[in-house]
């Protein structure tokens, strides 16, 4: 955690100095980010979703959202966008208190979310800079079609690379990119090991609340960097130690060693009350052993690794494979597999108001997963960074009744087992 904090602080400081150092700045999104490519041109990535969630965690999002709504943004749309626009309108001071530089390029990697398109169209109104669009086709039939892959590679070659060459003044260097991709693979291996450590009982990690920290570096600016590799090595060591000692994760109010419930969670967390939200689970002895949110920036645990031998093709595969770019059937299959592989007692959906990409269809996911696995599902509603939509009492109630249901199923299950 300390290492990560330092990495982030350093990155933001470097961003603040970018106008003097001349390092070009590229804004892009978490799902389908081309960090290795961006970095291979000596550019610095800025991820607006990360800024928004950090603003949420630091209590700043309410004012930013209010500012955006004052400027005509609807209360109905994604609050990440409004939080970001509000931050820009308020002077673009990033979550760590440093000034964020203007982008030299908006790299609109259109992966798994319609809102991304509007977000950068909106940002383009604020900045006088080019915007390059990378269209990542959705896995409507649950597969990456070969022609779709080809289409992405062509776009990277013909549109994205020339745009990066232009702002950086550097030529595309495939060897430099390959080297970065090799670093990515090392970090990806370690991340998967960490996520899969939750198959143990007790789980040494929380694969939702804890995992959002673990995926931070790899989903943002640090994939394909030596710092990223070092971070995941250290994280793996730390988790190994907890595993060896039979310890659980450290929740906000202390360690969660006594784990009564093993849950799978679908959907993003709430950031404005993140610690309170996590503690509600911990208070009940509930640990999350797998989550889909920790796959929005890549579904590594299903086997994907960047392939340095095919640098552009692998970036296409990466983009198309991010969680929200999968159709509903795949999402349901993933949840069922998590429930099975991680020996979970049930699953919970945190449905956020902001996000149609995640939320539209979740009630059906709930029913389908319950039907296929026979395990109980629960449904909670909140939002990402708009504190107006976090009702602690309501969520606590729902969580408690859900866990009672899990308990009742268990009792029923053991009665059945005794009877048979």
């Amino acid at each position: 955690m300390v290492i990560q904090k330092e990495m982030i602080a350093e990155h933001y400081e470097r961003l603040e100095r970018a106008p003097e150092t001349g390092e070009p700045v590229v804004y892009t999104f978490v799902p389908g980010n081309l960090t290795e490519l961006i970095r291979s041109f000596g550019c610095l990535p800025v991820l607006p979703e990360i800024n928004a969630l950090q603003s949420g965690m630091r209590g700043k999002s309410r004012d930013y959202i209010a500012e955006a709504e004052k400027h005509g943004h609807s209360e109905d749309v994604c609050t990440y966008v409004k939080c970001d626009i509000g931050m820009v309108l308020a002077g673009n001071i990033g979550p760590t208190g440093t000034k964020l530089p203007k982008p030299d390029l908006l790299l609109l990697s259109y992966t798994g979310c319609y809102t991304f398109m509007k977000w950068f169209e909106l940002l383009r109104e604020q900045y006088d800079c080019p915007c390059v669009f990378l269209h990542v086709p959705y896995q409507g039939d649950g597969i990456i079609e070969p022609e779709h892959r080809e289409y992405m590679v062509k776009q990277i070659k013909e549109l994205v690379i020339p745009a990066l060459e232009k702002i950086s003044g550097r030529k595309y260097d495939e060897d430099a990119l390959r080297e970065r991709l090799e670093l990515s693979v090392q970090a990806e291996d370690d991340l998967v090991w960490v996520l899969e450590s939750a198959k143990n009982t007790p789980s040494p990690i929380d694969a939702y609340f804890g995992a959002v920290y673990y995926v931070g570096p790899i989903f943002s600016a640090f994939r394909g960097t030596p710092e990223g590799v070092a971070y995941y090595k250290a994280l793996r060591r730390e988790v190994q130690q907890r595993l060896d000692a039979g310890l659980g994760p450290v929740a906000p109010a202390g360690p969660l060693n006594d784990q009564k419930y093993r849950l799978v969670v679908e959907g993003p967390p709430n950031w404005t009350h993140f610690r309170e939200f996590w503690q509600m689970f911990a208070d009940e002895g509930a640990v999350v052993v797998a989550s889909t949110y920790s796959k929005v920036g890549g579904t590594y645990d299903f086997g994907f690794r960047h392939n340095p031998a095919d640098p552009l093709g692998t970036m296409g595969d990466y983009c198309a494979g991010c969680y929200t770019n999968h159709n509903l059937t795949n999402r349901i299959d993933m949840l069922c597999q998590y429930l099975r592989d991680y020996k979970a007692d049930g699953f919970l959906i945190n449905s956020v108001k902001s996000c149609n990409s995640f939320s539209a269809g979740q009630l059906m996911i709930l029913r389908e997963v319950e039907k296929r696995t026979g395990l109980p599902g629960g449904f909670i509603e909140s939002d990402l960074v708009d504190p107006r939509y976090f009702s602690a009492a309501n969520i606590k109630n729902r969580l408690e009744s859900y866990l009672q249901m899990v308990e009742a199923r268990r009792a029923g299950g053991s009665r059945e087992a005794r009877a048979s």
């Binding site: 319609y114 169209e121 549109l159």
Partner: protein, 391 residues
């Protein structure tokens, strides 16, 4: 028959189709065409030419505010727009059982995810998610979209049991060029003489066109156009407005009537935008799939559902539309929770206001039942433009 009577007859016919929640027109078409099938499509844009060339009836599925939602709400949280609820209601109540295939264009994530729900709910129906080309480079976009169209062409041919030859596809393109042409004429006439073409009537005709097939639509549209051209109506002192933001979930008819009765002539709109998505004719020469792909990539209407490569595009859009329609103001009317319309709105409105164009904005749902508030807003808007417009 007098011109007024011809018009009324066409409008009554269209209204009957619009009001009918059982899709009787589609069922009748299927009965009248034994062995043929029907393919649905969701808003906004789907290539109807390909459906038609496979010998299938293209069926626009636009939801409805008139159907009682019994099952649909169990599929959607309260913060998702109304359209998918009524569509799921239609589907779950068996009213769409006559469809053999459904196409889901990449309008937004709600429709995208509905494609996945459909795959699970109706495993025997052919379902295809249509990723419209979102790329600034027209050559790349056309190549991608051409291949998508080829897939749909092949697959719908398989479902229909028909080989979709180039000749068939070209014929369908020619027919839809006629459809587009007559719609352009109707819109042009309304813009020129809105008192001759009340939007309520035009809208009903367009709605019927989504369900009856291009041949039947053309016949009725021609009758209507001929009658409307010379059926002189009283010119009223009304404000000329553009409605924008209603390209997917449709406003209730009562809302359209309310706006006109509150003192506005609607001189341009984006209701049912799919039927005007391609702004020009599709070429009849060369490879027809390429022609369709090129027509979309190079000649699509400016809309919230496609990426805008021009940095000034959003800012200028309303100014250009207002100039083209000689409108006095813009009404931003979006469905509640509609991401594409509501995320676009600040950019469009800002551009319009900077150009000195009066604007108002409201949200509706397809099942909105109270129009008082809209009447007041539209009435005040119209009055203020009349009072201060030339100041």
């Amino acid at each position: 028959m007098s011109r007024t009577a011809i018009r009324s007859e066409v409008v009554e016919w269209a209204s009957g189709i619009y009001e009918d929640l059982e899709f009787t027109a589609v069922r009748q078409w299927l009965e009248g065409h034994p062995g043929r099938k029907a393919c649905g499509y969701l808003p906004v844009y789907a290539p109807r030419e390909v459906i038609h060339a496979a010998g299938m009836l293209p069926v626009g599925i636009h939801g409805s505010g008139n159907i009682e939602i019994i099952r649909g709400d169990a599929f959607y949280q309260s913060y998702i727009c109304h359209l998918p609820r009524s569509i799921v209601e239609f589907a779950q109540s068996g009213r769409l059982d006559m469809l053999s295939a459904v196409l889901f264009p990449s309008t937004c994530d709600v429709i995208r995810n509905l494609s996945g729900m459909w795959q699970i709910l109706f495993p025997d129906m052919y379902v295809r998610y249509l990723d419209l080309p979102q790329v600034a480079d027209p050559a790349l976009g056309a190549e991608f979209w051409r291949r998508e169209l080829e897939v749909v062409r092949r697959e719908l041919g398989r479902v229909a049991g028909v080989e979709v030859t180039d000749a068939r596809l070209r014929e369908s393109i020619a027919l839809y060029n006629e459809v587009r042409a007559i719609i352009r004429q109707l819109y042009a006439l309304r813009s020129e003489k809105p008192w001759q073409v009340p939007t309520e009537e035009l809208y009903l005709l367009m709605r019927a066109g989504e369900l009856v097939g291009p041949e039947a639509f053309l016949e009725k549209a021609r009758e209507y156009l001929t009658a409307a051209q010379s059926d002189d109506q009283r010119v009223r002192d009304r404000t000329r407005v553009i409605i924008t933001g209603s390209f997917c979930e449709q406003p209730p008819l009562g809302l359209i009537k309310t706006i006109e009765r509150a003192g506005c002539y609607i001189v341009d709109d984006d209701f049912l935008a799919g039927n005007r998505f391609l702004t020009g004719d599709v070429a009849l020469e060369g490879d027809p799939t390429t022609a369709l792909a090129e027509a979309l990539v190079r000649g699509a209407v400016k809309t919230s559902v496609l990426y805008e490569p021009d940095p000034a595009g959003k800012r200028n859009l309303m100014k250009n539309r207002v100039a083209a329609a000689r409108a006095d103001g813009v009404i931003f009317a979006a469905a509640s929770f509609c991401d594409p319309a509501l995320l676009d709105r600040p950019m469009l409105r800002d551009g319009a206001e900077k150009a000195g164009i009066p604007c108002i904005a409201f949200k509706f749902a397809e099942n909105s039942g109270q129009f008082q508030q809209f009447r007041e807003q539209a009435g005040t808007f119209s009055d203020s433009i009349k009072l201060w417009g030339d100041a």
